[in-house]
C-alpha cells in the first residue's frame, strides 16, 4: 500500500496548467485522498464551475499516479468541499507572485468590491493602484493598473 504522504508529495508536482508556478495542492483544490490496498482515489474541487482547465488537471493527476506505478486510480471532481481563495496556501501565494500575479487577499467568506480597489502591485509593491476590470484573461483573474510604476498587472481575485 502506498503512503498518503507519497501521493501528496507527487501531487505537489502537478501544476495548474494556466499558472504553472503553483501546484494543485497549494491551490487548495485537492479535497480528498483515499488509499485502500492498491486503489487510490483522489477528489478535486473546481475553482470555478466553468473552469476549462479542470479536465486537464484530472488527466495530469491520473498520469502522475500512473508514473508512481499506481494502476488502480480514480480521479473525480465534485463540489463536496466548495473551493474559495482562502484555501490557497501561504506557499501558493508566494508562487502566484512568482508568476507575476498579485495573490488574493484573505476574505473570511465575504468579498466586496472595495477589496479589489487598492491591490498591492506585484512589480513595485505600491498600493496606489486602480481596478481596471474584475474580469481578466482567465476566470480567476482581475486586471489592475499601478499608478506608480505605470504598469498593468493581474490579480488572482478573491472568491468566497
Amino acid at each position: 500500500m502506498i503512503a498518503k504522504e507519497k501521493i501528496l508529495k507527487a501531487l505537489e508536482e502537478v501544476k495548474d496548467p494556466e499558472i504553472p508556478t503553483i501546484s494543485i495542492v497549494d491551490l487548495g483544490i485537492v479535497t480528498n485522498i483515499t488509499v485502500e490496498n492498491d486503489f487510490v482515489g483522489i477528489t478535486l474541487t473546481p475553482t470555478f464551475s466553468g473552469c476549462p482547465a479542470l479536465k486537464v488537471m484530472e488527466d495530469l493527476v491520473r498520469e502522475k499516479m500512473q508514473s508512481l506505478g499506481i494502476r488502480n486510480v480514480e480521479v473525480k471532481t465534485n463540489f463536496d468541499v466548495p473551493w474559495n481563495t482562502d484555501m490557497i496556501t501561504d506557499n501558493g501565494r508566494e508562487m502566484l507572485k512568482k508568476h507575476g500575479l498579485a495573490p488574493p487577499m484573505k476574505h473570511n467568506g465575504l468579498v466586496q468590491i472595495e477589496m479589489l480597489k487598492n491591490v498591492e502591485c506585484p512589480h513595485c509593491k505600491s498600493r496606489n493602484t486602480t481596478l481596471q476590470t474584475p474580469f481578466g484573461p482567465t476566470l480567476c483573474r482581475s486586471i489592475h493598473y499601478c499608478n506608480d510604476c505605470l504598469q498593468a498587472f493581474e490579480q488572482f481575485k478573491p472568491v468566497a
Partner: protein, 257 residues
C-alpha cells in the same frame, strides 16, 4: 436521500428552470465575444458567459447523476423547445449593449439571491453547488451594478438609453419569478423558499441601486410579468437559438473538440 416519484419531479422542475436559464443566458452573453463595445466589456461578457455555462453544466449533472435524467449534453442540446423551462428574459437577442447590460443586472441580482437561499437547501447536492455559484455570481453583480450606476448618471444619452433598457426588460425580468405548480412542496420540503419570497428580496435589493442610478421603475399597477417560460411556452427567439446551439450535436452526437 430518498424521495418519492412526485418529490423527484418537484426537484427536477426547479433544477431544469435554473439550468436552462444559465445555459441560454450563457449562450446569449457569449454572442458579445469579439464585438463588445471595448475590450474589457468583451472579456466581462465572455467571462460571465463561461460562468453561466459552467453553472448550467453543474445543474444538469445533478439531474443526470442524482435524478436519472440523460447526460448534460443531451439535456442541453437535444430537448425540444417545449421541454425548456427558461424565462423569457434570457431568450431575447442581445440587442444594443444597454439591453444586455440591464438584463444582466436584473438577472444577476435574482440569481445571487436565489443561490444564497439555496445554500441552505435540504437537497444537499443543490446546496453544495449553490455555495459555489454565490461566489462566482458576486462578480456578475459587481460588474453590472458598477455600469448601471455609471451609465445611469453619465450624460443625457446614456441615461435615456439605460431608462429605455429598464423599461424594455423589467416585465421580462418579472417572468423570472413565475411560480411553478410545485411552490408549496418546495417550501414544505425546505428545498427552496419559493419564487414569491425571492421576488420580494430582489425588489428590495435592486430598488436602491436603480435610485442611485437615477433610473425609475414604472408603477407596480402597470407591471405585466412575462410568464409562460417556466411552463414551456417561449418567445419566438428561443427555437432559432436552440437550432444553432444543437447543430453540431445533431450532426454528430459523439463529436469531440
Amino acid at each position: 436521500m430518498s424521495y418519492t416519484g412526485q418529490q423527484k419531479n418537484t426537484i427536477k422542475d426547479l433544477l431544469f428552470k435554473m439550468a436552462d436559464d444559465q445555459l441560454i443566458l450563457g449562450h446569449r452573453n457569449s454572442e458579445w465575444t469579439g464585438i463588445g463595445p471595448f475590450i474589457e466589456e468583451d472579456i466581462a461578457f465572455s467571462s460571465i458567459a463561461q460562468d453561466k455555462i459552467g453553472q448550467s453544466l453543474a445543474l444538469y449533472n445533478i439531474l443526470h447523476e442524482q435524478l436519472g435524467e440523460a447526460d448534460p449534453d443531451t439535456l442541453g442540446f437535444a430537448r425540444s423547445e417545449k421541454e425548456f423551462k427558461c424565462c423569457h428574459l434570457v431568450e431575447y437577442p442581445i440587442g444594443e449593449y444597454e439591453f444586455s447590460l440591464m438584463r444582466n443586472f436584473l438577472f444577476a441580482h435574482a440569481d445571487y439571491l436565489r443561490f444564497e437561499m439555496l445554500a441552505d437547501s435540504s437537497f444537499e447536492p443543490l446546496a453544495k453547488v449553490a455555495k459555489k455559484f454565490r461566489g462566482e455570481i458576486k462578480y456578475h453583480v459587481m460588474h453590472s451594478d458598477n455600469w448601471i450606476k455609471k451609465l445611469g448618471t453619465a450624460n443625457d444619452e446614456s441615461h435615456s438609453r439605460m431608462q429605455s433598457a429598464l423599461n424594455e426588460t423589467f416585465n421580462l425580468a418579472l417572468g423570472i419569478f413565475e411560480p411553478s405548480e410545485f411552490e408549496n412542496e418546495l417550501i414544505e420540503m425546505k428545498i427552496f423558499a419559493g419564487e414569491e419570497s425571492l421576488k420580494s428580496k430582489w425588489l428590495e435589493t435592486i430598488k436602491p441601486i436603480l435610485e442611485e442610478a437615477s433610473l425609475k421603475l414604472s408603477d407596480e399597477k402597470d407591471w405585466k410579468p412575462s410568464f409562460g417560460g417556466r411552463k414551456g411556452s417561449h418567445t419566438e427567439y428561443l427555437q432559432p437559438l436552440l437550432n444553432e446551439m444543437g447543430e453540431v450535436f445533431r450532426i454528430d452526437a459523439k463529436a469531440e473538440w
